[in-house]
Amino acid sequence: MSNLVLKYTVDNEDFTRAGEASSDVKKKLKMMGVPPEAVRKVAIAMYEGEINMVIHADGGEITVEITPTQIVMVLKDKGPGITDIEKAMQAGYSTASENIRALGFGAGMGLPNMKKYSDEMDIDTVIGVGTTVTMKVNI
């Protein structure tokens, strides 16, 4: 069986659609019979990544590859990049604006959640060029 590849475009600053890619992936994984715990991990990790693309970068592209043993999510944006990854990974650290916080975001727990709920995470970032986050969840 060949691997299933899903592609999504995430619009910048479009909160009305934020989370749609994650919802769609969750629905498909559920239908494919992927175990609920793996589906939950993918939903949390991908939603946080998707939200970061909306609030911190200028949107971007998400590719999800589903293999028999794992789900690989690649989130690629052309945003400002992350200056200090170590700091960004700390729980509670956030550069989100007051407006964003009023919507319930900007708790500084997105990246820590992504790390916690994925089995493997890699951040490739270049200042002024963009960020690519790769996350893998084992089935």
Partner: protein, 111 residues
Amino acid sequence: MTVNELIEKTGLEPLCIPCPEREISGVYNCDLMSVVMSKGFSGAAWVTIMANINAVAVASLTDMACIVLSEGAAKDEVMLSKAKAQEINVLMSCEPIFETSLSIYNALKNA
């Protein structure tokens, strides 16, 4: 207890009830989306002030039974149309978060 039964028991105002027979497993409180994503649970009645479209996405991703807007959160038509499309129940309370949660908790306990 189903969402429909909760409405009958507590008098919470139904704003959008696409799944009236959905079972409620417990009460949950939080207004920070990242925390809700990791701690929110399947079947929860989520009492929050976040009357926005993102709350619908989060409730859907965490498989909650309903969102209960409280503490005077204003009705948001965009949110409600999204909730209808995503099949998420939305109720409203004019009480603060604690009182709202307590009345749901008591209704569940006495069910």
